[in-house]
């Protein structure tokens, strides 16, 4: 276990390094958004002032020096947006409560719902219930977030007034307000994942049902319910759980860009959307690093959990 963690940590650092290098090259070198010094200096600056800023911020230095400096800034919290001049880390920190609320809530909703839906579809395989659920899953998978979100806001929010039109209320301020504002975003973000996960779980269950050990469980005299829960579902959940870890990481790291934008939730995803539209490269770079960190950390956690679920897997 300790050896696994050490090795995993080394891999994580190496991965983050590679990701940072690639994104830096992409955002700062390949995708130059004019002269950053000119942006920082503003419209009224003289060329001498621009040059001064360029020297001060190190834009005249070689690329690798710029890379090291930028990364150091991002990690010690002294990176500033060239566009807005705000501290990037503060911006991200401000967005985290909304993003965490959205992603953790939705994560549990989509995991639990897809377990229910997938199991129901599998035990009713080929019958009416299964066909209806299959159709709904397909709709869920193919429904774009911006469309479903817009429809939900229009009807449930604007026409019927049962949900707010958007925005985020911290739970410290009002727990009910927090819930009320998050119901629609949770639903919107979950629906795609429920569609995918329930399809995967359905087919995994149908594979597992034909396993010899399930026949053994029946031959032991277990009830159909116990066979399903203890022997079929327990084994079928393993692939779903590992998928969940990675998807959740991506959403935590600001991946729910569309959902956050549609519902005007000022989270990390919304910040990502803003910085993309303004080509705010430093902010974007920081968000990508956060996403990468979340994926790598949750990926490792998932692996630990995976080994816990399936004793045949050794953490090496």
């Amino acid at each position: 276990m300790a050896r696994f963690l050490v090795r995993r940590l080394m891999v994580m650092v190496a991965l983050l390094f590679v990701i940072s290098l690639v994104t830096f090259m992409l955002f700062i070198v390949v995708l130059p958004n004019g002269n950053p010094a000119a942006l920082l200096a503003g419209h009224l600056a003289t060329p001498a002032e621009v040059h001064l800023i360029s020297v001060r911020y190190g834009f005249d230095k070689p690329v690798w020096v710029q890379y090291v400096k930028t990364m150091a800034n991002i990690f010690d919290g002294s990176a500033y947006s060239y566009q807005s001049g705000f501290n990037v880390l503060d911006e991200i920190r401000a967005g985290l409560p909304a993003t965490l609320s959205l992603s953790l809530g939705a994560g549990f909703i989509w995991l639990l719902t897809s377990i229910l839906v997938g199991t129901l579809a599998a035990i009713r395989a080929g019958r009416y219930t299964d066909r209806v659920l299959t159709l709904l899953s397909m709709v869920g998978v193919s429904m774009p977030v911006f469309f479903f979100g817009a429809v939900l806001i229009y009807f449930a929010g604007y026409k019927w007034g049962i949900i707010p039109l958007g925005g985020y209320v911290p739970w410290t301020q009002s727990l009910t307000g927090w819930l009320w504002h998050l119901v629609a975003p949770w639903l919107t973000l979950s629906i795609l994942f429920i569609g995918i996960y329930s399809r995967i779980l359905r087919s995994t269950i149908l594979d597992t049902i034909n396993e010899d050990f399930v026949r053994t469980a029946k031959a032991k005299g277990l009830s159909g319910r116990k066979v399903l829960l203890r022997h079929v579902l327990r084994n079928s959940l393993i692939p779903i759980i590992s998928l969940w870890g990675l998807d959740l990481a991506q959403v935590i790291g600001g991946g729910a860009i569309l959902t956050e934008s549609v519902y005007n939730l000022h989270g990390v995803g919304y910040l990502a959307y803003q910085s993309v539209s303004h080509l705010d490269t430093v902010t974007l770079l920081s968000i990508v690093m956060l996403t990468a960190l979340a994926v790598v950390v949750l990926g490792a956690l998932t692996e630990v959990f995976y080994a816990f679920l399936d004793p045949r897997i050794r953490l090496q």
Binding site: D212, T216, G221, S223, R234, N235
Partner: protein, 350 residues
Amino acid sequence: MSATAPLLEVDDMRVSFATEDGLVRAVDGVSFSVAAGEVVAIVGESGSGKSVTAMTLMGLTRGPNARIAGRAMFDGTELLSASERELQQIRGASMAMVFQDPMSSLNPVYRIGHQIVEQIRTHDQAISKAQAMDRAIELMERVGIPRASERLRSYPHEFSGGMRQRVMIAMALSCSPKLLIADEPSTALDVTIQAQILEELRTLREQTGAGIILVTHDLAVVADIADRVVVMYSGRVVEQGTLDELFYDPLHPYTWGLLGSITRVDRDRSQRLPAIPGLPPSLLRTPEGCHFRPRCSHAFGRCTEDPALRAAISDRPEHLDRCWLELEQKRRLRVVGDQIGLASAEPVIS
């Protein structure tokens, strides 16, 4: 129930499965019985319906596509029409099964001990977890698993195939079944382990007086352990009788073929091992008349009519076969060289 009534009496059991290609008649009118303390072997090639017979008794072939008919009286319960709830109480308790492939028959994610305890506690709600654990250790020791109290905490993948099969047997024995169904219990194992597993079955029969149904294609195993033998071919019983009747006075050409294809140390090695020519018929389209006719070198005109399963020898009412040949013809035709075998139409290639 009278004292002489057999433990299990199967009467005209039929199992067919609706598939996309048509109705597969996997078991086509099978009758046999098992007494307490008796080992009945069901032999036949792959696809003869022997495993389906065994699994149907356990209620494991039930499903939307399965058609099951006939009767199987076991210990006062008719198994084929029993409700799922009734079956659950019998399965794993008074009737248990050991499967062919020990490598995949245990759930990989639970500890061995847990899987044995699960069965014990399913049928005995009063027993505590600790008591059930002790019972599991006792069972594991009984089937020859060393350091049972430690091994209890192992996962199936930490066991060899032979050890896993012992676990399966321990599990099957956990509720002291009256009938044990063993579906090719030693086929997936190597020969030394095979012998040990058979020894376990023999001990079980002697210690508990349980009846055993042994499904196998291995006649050496049959000769080793069985009291009576049922030979199945293409979903039907083609011959049945005591071990001695089957081995020393076999009456059906298919049985001759099976006996002729056993590897023997006393046979001339320059000859190729005799095999029954051809393949078993598809269960979708069984041949008219005797199912073995297309592969039988002794087939004649009458074989297009369906032969009944009957006793050919009047003082042996329990020795049944399904063949049109006269007894004297059979005794003459079955001798190939100086052994029993199915004469092949073409000369044996050496």
